[in-house]
């Protein structure tokens, strides 16, 4: 194969890694374990097994305490976690919170890291007092803030971007959950003084954009995994379920739901994978791909849950059947790290900027 014969993007992921993650998640994320996690807000024992294998730090540099590997590997692990509805803060530790700490040269803790995603209602402010950073205000929808070892906060101070590694014990956490029952509490910060060893500036001026894109990519990958698992679950269920003497998958009305659900999953999965490959090269340079992937994925998350539930009938509405572990997460995730309208707008503005003659090249980029 000559150089001109090699596709320009690298989509490869570590097959051994994927195999072992799949096995581990299949073993640990059983129906009962995922269901039980709704009480506690997460599954510390699943975290434990995943952490023992080093998976939550994939894509973070070894020298910073990470497990090494590529961003593609990390995204693939998140996709698998989405497919298994893994009730642990993987994306936060790998892609956003943990990444933010390593970017600032701060220590990675042994346990999960979360991040302040930054919503329009947030009011966090920081000021320097000597060498310390004093933070004040509220942060909303901070994933698993009560379960994480550290909350990574990106905060502008006198024109610089500072990262603070906040201890959950330093703040007041007001519980709140998304529609999947995953903790998304409000974090109240009342003049909390962060000492110098847990604060550092980041040089890159667009670190906030990177964080936003990484957050979006993480949810996109998780949704893609959940959509694929949901499509498989629905195909299996409708093959086994009989009505009027034959499998319901034989009815055209059900076939339509199966096909549309499979298409939705395929779109999301492809979008997440391609976006990850571009992000591997340069997260900021992958702004279009990540925004487009996210926009497509949140749209199909909405439609695919509709088809899957319709194909399942009453069974899908019960706690005892696994569909809701996926569908409720999809209903939640599509609104996290910015809402559907915002990502669609972002893509729209890029298309507008590309102009008529640049539009197709953008689509084919």
């Amino acid at each position: 194969m000559t150089a001109t014969d090699t596709p320009e993007m690298d989509f490869s992921v570590d097959p051994l890694l994927i195999d072992s993650v799949t096995r581990l998640l299949s073993d640990t994320c059983t129906f009962d374990a995922v269901q039980a996690a709704e009480e506690a807000g997460w599954a510390p024992e699943i975290w434990q097994s995943v952490a023992e294998a080093g998976y939550p730090w994939i894509g973070l540099p070894v020298e910073a305490g990470g497990s090494g590997g590529t961003l593609r590997d990390a995204v693939e692990v998140i996709r698998l976690a989405g497919a298994h509805a893994a009730p642990i803060p993987l994306a936060e530790t790998m892609l956003t919170g943990g990444w933010l700490l390593t970017e600032a040269g701060l220590e990675l803790p042994d346990g999960p890291v979360t991040v302040v995603p930054g919503t329009s209602a947030d009011t966090l402010e920081g000021r320097l007092d000597g060498a310390d950073l004093v933070i004040n205000g509220d942060a909303h929808r901070v994933p698993w803030a009560g379960q994480a070892d550290r909350i990574a906060v990106l905060i502008p101070v006198r024109g610089a971007q500072m990262v603070a590694s906040v201890l959950p014990g330093e703040v007041v956490i007001a519980s709140m959950a998304n529609v999947a029952g995953e903790p998304r509490p409000t974090v109240h910060v009342r003049d909390v003084r962060i000492p110098i060893d847990r604060v550092a500036p980041v040089d890159h001026p667009r670190v906030g954009d990177q964080l936003r894109l990484r957050g979006a990519l993480g949810r996109t990958a998780a949704m893609a995994g959940a959509l694929e698992a949901m499509s498989r679950l629905t195909v299996d269920y409708t093959d086994q379920r009989h009505q009027f003497g034959r499998p319901v998958s034989r009815f055209q009305a059900v076939q339509q739901h199966l096909v549309w659900g499979a298409q939705d999953a395929a779109l999301a999965s492809m979008a997440a994978t391609v976006a990850a490959a571009h992000a591997e090269v340069d997260v900021l340079g992958a702004g279009f791909q990540i925004a487009a992937a996210r926009a497509v994925t949140e749209e199909v998350a909405s439609t695919a849950t509709r088809w899957a539930h319709q194909a399942h009938g009453a069974m899908g509405m019960t706690q005892e059947y696994a569909l809701h572990h996926l569908s409720r997460r999809l209903w939640s995730w599509r609104h996290e790290f910015a809402t559907p309208g915002e990502w669609r707008s972002a893509v729209g503005r890029m298309a507008e900027a590309a102009g008529p003659d640049g539009l197709y090249p953008l689509i084919a980029s």
């Binding site: 709704e38 919503t119 329009s120 929808r141 519980s175 709140m176 959950a177 998304n178 529609v179 029952g181 998304r184 009989h242 009505q243 009027f244 009815f251 009305a253 059900v254 909405s302 849950t305 509709r306 539930h309 319709q310 009938g313 009453a314 899908g316 509405m317 019960t318 706690q319 005892e320 569909l323 809701h324 569908s327 409720r328 209903w331 939640s332 609104h335 996290e336 809402t339 559907p340 309208g341 915002e342």
Partner: protein, 380 residues
Amino acid sequence: MRFAPTSLTAAERELQREVRTFLAEELPPGSYERALGMGAGNNPEFSKRLAARGWVGMALPTAYGGHDRTAVDRFIVVEELLSHGAPIGYHWVADRQTGSIINRFGTDAQRERFLPPICRGELGFSIGMSEPDSGSDLASVSTRGTRTDGGWLLNGTKVWTSGAHENDWFVVLCRTTPIEDGNKHQGLSQFLVDLASPGLEINGIPFLDGSPGFNEVVMTDVFVPDELVLGELGMGWAQNTSELAYERGGPDRWLSTYGVVEEFLRLHDGSRLGTRAVQLLGWATARWWALRNLSLSVARMIDDGQAPAVESALVKEMGTRFEQDVLQAVLDLVDLEPSPDSASLFERLVSAAVLTGPSFTIRGGTIEILRSVASKGLRQ
């Protein structure tokens, strides 16, 4: 297929005003946890107060404590209750479904026993039709009723029985004669069963978010005396077919997500809405208005002695899809992460709608079944 246009009479407008006044006093905005249409919670006290106004058992005969009102009068009361998100859960099924079935098919003794408390809003009923292996295909039920001294012994399991944990009685569809010549529709009967009967076990089937909702009702040699066979033995299929028809085409099939839009509007009251919000509001309002006119037409046709089976199936099929479309449109418009714990009523409503939305097009006959019913009727 024909929908005759109609409108309210002066008397009906007066009823509408009365109901609105009642609700404005009973449930001023902000004073209650607004519900999403017929998926409302139980509030026996509210049901009794409503009954005291004569708005429960409206379709039932005065002789049994009912009010002999028209389908349109019921429509008016129901649309106001549902659009207010009132807590109608306790009396809903008995009022709307079981009462009518007992009145239509039951014995005199059954009418005398059950209808008066239903009309007082004091008796909650559940429906025992579905089984683990019989959903839309009702005739395939495997719960059996076998003859015994002075009555029947019921054995089998019913699922998706809403409210069985809170209600008093339920109506059970059973097979009382084995299938012989392949005619699955014969040999089915319905029984009125006390949910406190010995041998009857109620196991909650939590809703997908863990909230109570469905139940599994397991019956092991549950004795039901002869006098509680609903009407005539062996007529279960015919009774149930008409029972399904009762469920169709009313305001409960297109108002489930109305509250989401009203609360969205309340949230932004006073500020001028943006183009996208105005377009959404215009789209939804126009369609509600048109759907309501079709649905009202069905009620009037019933009062005129017609049998608008196709028409009501058409309304239900499109109404329940529209309920979901409205929610999707709102979710796409607003900047919000849905949470059942939100301090905002609007956000809680949205969350509840997200979680229950899929059931709109499933409950009481899936839209696929409705399409099959309706499309056959279009040929006439």
